[in-house]
């Protein structure tokens, strides 16, 4: 890229860099805070005394987690869910989007299909009928309920449809002339050209499955089947003491360990920190489409 070497441009670079770094620091605050709590002593955390530096620095929470089989069991469920969920979800999304990116001439009633999709995105019957439906499929307590329940995010389909439509039609025509059928055109031309957008929806799907906790709660009857975020959610939701009886208060007062919970929250973020850089290379400008743009 060619840069103009004038003063205004340099000034812009400096200000831009400073602003972005400040913004980044601002985003690190909560993460830092959670980390400091996880490294602090329990009583200081309960007193709300921990802010930017740990008080009574220790690794006890992390040592404790090592002994918590429930945490790792949930972690593993989440990993399975993300792997299966992403393969199934991205697969269905791409397959559905490809025909819909064709014109109404190529795919009759294409607009009707599309509006059905949009309608389903906006309307739903609510949790209760949804739960009854999934239960009637016999999917309760099954990892497949978690994998399948959110498999077709319509938003992602619309995103892909738009991207496919904007690819130059010359490519498809050339393939057609070469005798390629729809499957070959889809797999060998459209998919390879869609790196950034596929990376985007893959990221959305991974993050969606990793972060989701409500379905995990509703669709499982046992805590041992919870995915990680459902497991964590039940720990960090603050209990209102005034609504408990004395027995429950006693239990809560004894068992509640905010610094241990913070350590769990922190560890739960590590996978998303690891995965993102792998997908990131697709989001850096100027490496993909230059060659095919008309």
């Amino acid at each position: 890229m060619i840069e103009q070497k004038n003063i205004g441009s340099k000034l812009f670079n400096i200000i831009n860099g400073t602003v972005l770094i400040l913004i980044t620091l601002l985003c690190l605050v909560p993460l830092w805070y959670v980390l400091m709590i996880s490294l602090s002593e329990k009583s200081a955390v309960n007193a709300g005394a921990v802010t930017f530096w740990p008080i009574g620095f220790n690794f006890l929470s992390y040592e404790k987690i090592l002994g918590e089989t429930a945490f790792f069991a949930s972690f593993w469920i989440s990993v399975k869910r993300v792997v299966f969920g992403t393969i199934v979800g991205v697969g269905i999304t791409l397959l559905t989007a490809y025909p819909l990116s064709k014109s109404s001439r190529q795919l009759p009633h294409r607009n009707a299909y599309m509006w059905v999709l949009v309608f389903c995105m906006l309307f739903n019957g609510g949790t209760i009928p949804w739960y009854i439906t999934i239960r009637s499929y016999g999917l309760i307590d099954s990892i497949w309920a978690l994998v399948l329940a959110g498999s077709l995010p319509v938003f992602n389909v619309i995103l892909i449809v738009n991207f496919f439509r904007n690819l130059p039609s010359a490519m498809e025509e050339a393939a057609y002339v070469d005798g390629a059928g729809p499957w070959r055109t889809f797999l060998l031309i459209y998919i390879p050209l869609s790196g950034p957008v596929i990376a985007t929806i893959t990221l959305f799907t991974i993050v969606g499955h990793w972060n989701e906790f409500f379905q995990g709660l509703v669709l499982n009857t046992k805590q041992s089947n919870y995915p990680l975020q459902t497991y964590i959610q039940q720990l960090v939701v603050s209990m209102d003491l005034s609504r408990m009886n004395s027995e429950e208060i006693k239990l809560t007062a004894q068992l509640n360990n905010k610094s241990l919970n913070a350590a769990k929250v922190f560890i739960a973020m590590i996978p998303v920190l690891i995965i993102y850089p792998f997908l990131q290379r697709y989001f850096i400008t100027g490496i993909t489409l230059g060659s095919v743009k008309e």
Binding site: K42, S43, N46, A47, G48, A49, A70, N124, G126, T127, I128, W130, Y131, I132, R135, F214, L217, V218, N220, T221, K222, Q223, Y231, Q234, L235, V237, S238, M239, D240, L241, S242, R243, M244, N245, S246, E247, E248, I249, K250, L251, T252, A253, Q254, L255, N256, N257
Partner: protein
């Protein structure tokens, strides 16, 4: 992101019972309590006797034996809250532990779990079960859930079951709740749920104060509002924590999820300040002419709010009340001098005893009203109810499981049956069924024990499941002088500090005002349930009230805010609800 709105609906179900109340005649505490205690004790004995005879002939057990064993196995499907941090004994789980085995052995009942969720998720899961009509056979529910399930006709009529199979002790608890309890669970004369009676002390809010700060500043515990203001001012201005900064809080207030005043135990609420004005917000009470009215709209409440407004303006109340994430934090951080809360507040102070020097929290039935009495609003007699699915063939099985808990819980604690999780952590259909005077009795016996008037051997523990442990712990924890419960007179180096001390402080300090108070006036609400109009209007009226109260106390809203609130409250359905309450109270 689908289902968002519905999640809220599911979320919506919460343990909080509906605020509705009643103020009846007030009575000094100790007398009424003694009667109940005697009767429950007798009941326990006769219940125990009944079992011993039944044990020998279980195969031919009478049809209506509360402890009878089934010939053929009976299955009961239940649900339960399970704190994810509970540690079970080796090889045990919620579905497989000593209690489950005991129930099988005693009754030939197989306990199965429909689902298990953490206490914080329990209501949401139960709401889903109610709405999808996939109820377990039996479950413990709160007031909102109970009245909804009654409305939806999902519950079995337990009148006959309760009469035939309820153990004498269970029945004694029921009777001890009197008319107020009957009004809650008897719908058209039918018992639709069996209430878990709670100790009276749970709803008794009192003043907790830092004795060490008082001593340091040369003050004594404030007895009335004027003295309270003086002490709070000293706590704010005279640097009681000695760090050279003006960073202490006089009186704590509720957090963002807390309430200014509710008809129950309310840690960090301001209920006693209302009480000192003879004001009882959210209570249904009778005015001077004997007409039913609502506590929050009384002139006394207006005065109390004016007092609170002045106190807040002068910086005596926590500046960040109602905004704070957690009002307990500054207490544990040694920044707070006074807060209000019931006896069990002692449990929440666990962390302070590790500090050196440890703060000395003491509790008093202060501030008194100008007539020298401590007016305290009392809670609903029950907040938890056993209900049975109307399609379940053996409703008596659920009652038997409760009978067994009541009879044998003390014994299990002693024998160490499923010690890791305890009954509170893992007994199916668990709820605290307690003597109304459980804590006063414990206070009394422990006090005598410390004075050497009783020994561990001549106390009957059958009605007090935790008392024996308390006596053993207090022997090891208490230093001389035995009758002074200052923090310095406990052995703070003992290993029992985190496990047993909070409970002992809760009883010996927290229940002392209720046990020994001479001039306590207990005020009851006329009704603690939900009326028809309340189901549709109460949320609006509560919003009106909470917003008005918060604004009057914390911002410079004119006094007219209160009058507007009263006018709107009456117009928006309040008057109609008052009529309904009057009918129920008659």
């Amino acid at each position: 992101m689908k289902n968002v709105a519905f999640k809220k609906c599911i979320n919506a179900v919460n343990f909080r019972k509906v605020t509705a109340g009643m103020a009846a005649v007030s009575l000094a505490v100790s007398f009424a309590a003694c009667g109940t205690n005697a009767s429950t004790k007798e009941a326990r004995q006769s219940a125990a006797a009944a079992t011993s005879t039944a044990a020998g002939q279980s195969s031919t057990a009478q049809k209506t034996d509360p402890f009878g064993k089934y010939d053929a196995p009976v299955t009961i499907r239940v649900v339960r809250g399970l704190d994810p941090n509970v540690k079970f004994d080796e090889g045990q789980s919620l579905e497989k532990n000593g209690y489950i085995d005991e129930i099988k052995k005693q009754f030939n009942i197989d306990v199965k779990f429909d689902w298990i969720a953490s206490p914080s998720d329990f209501d949401q899961k139960l709401s889903l079960a109610i709405s999808s009509d996939s109820l377990p056979d039996a479950v413990m529910v709160n007031m909102t859930q109970f009245s909804s399930m009654v409305k939806y006709n999902q519950l079995a009529d337990l009148t006959g079951t309760f009469n035939d199979y309820g153990s004498d002790l269970l029945k004694a608890f029921y009777t001890s709740g009197g008319d107020a309890l009957k009004k809650l669970v008897e719908i058209d004369g039918k018992v639709m749920g069996i209430p878990a009676t709670t100790p009276k002390a749970n709803g008794f809010n009192e003043m907790w104060i830092r004795q060490d700060w008082l001593d340091k500043l040369g003050l004594s515990a404030p007895k009335n509002l004027e003295e309270l203001k003086k002490v709070a001012r000293a706590f704010v201005e005279q640097d009681p924590d000695g760090n050279g900064k003006k960073d202490t809080i006089g009186i704590a207030g509720p957090s963002k999820s807390g309430k200014i005043a509710i008809p129950d135990g309310n840690q960090f609420g301001l209920d006693p300040i209302f009480g000192a004005h003879k004001s009882f917000p959210t209570y249904w009470q009778k005015d001077n002419n004997g007409r039913v009215t609502y506590g929050s709209i009384q002139p006394e409440t207006k005065q109390a709010l004016q007092t609170l407004h002045d106190m807040y303006r002068d910086g005596l109340l926590d500046r960040e009340m109602l905004i704070r994430d957690d009002s307990l934090q500054p207490v544990l951080d040694n920044k707070t001098g006074i807060f209000f809360g019931p006896w069990w507040t002692g449990y929440t102070l666990t962390d302070v005893y590790k500090k050196n020097p440890a703060p000395d929290w003491q509790a008093y039935a202060y501030p008194e009203a100008d007539d020298g009495n401590y007016y305290v609003h009392m809670a609903s007699p029950a907040t938890s109810f056993l209900v049975v699915n109307k399609n379940y063939k053996h409703p008596e099985a659920a009652v038997k499981i409760i009978n067994l808990l009541l009879r044998d819980e003390a014994r299990w604690i002693e024998s160490g049956l499923s010690k890791g999780s305890g009954t509170g952590g893992s007994y199916p259909l668990f709820s605290v069924f307690d003597n109304v005077d459980e804590l006063e009795a414990s206070y009394d016996i422990l006090t005598k024990f410390m004075k050497g008037e009783v020994t561990i051997d001549n106390v009957d523990f059958s009605t007090h499941k935790l008392l024996k442990g308390d006596m053993e712990a207090i022997t090891r924890l208490k230093k001389e002088p035995k009758d002074n419960y200052s923090v310095n007179n406990w052995d703070l180096n003992s290993e029992l500090v985190s496990g047993n001390l909070p409970r002992l402080v809760s009883i010996m300090v927290g229940d002392r005002p209720l046990s020994t108070g001479k001039n306590i006036k207990e005020i009851y609400s006329l009704y603690y349930g939900t009326t028809d109009t309340m189901t549709s209007k109460w949320a609006s009226l509560q919003k009106l009230e909470q917003e008005a109260f918060a604004k009057i106390i914390m911002s410079d809203s004119p006094e007219s805010t209160f009058d507007d609130f009263v006018k709107n409250w009456k117009a928006q359905g309040g008057d109609k609800i008052i009529d309904e309450i009057a009918k129920i109270a008659r």
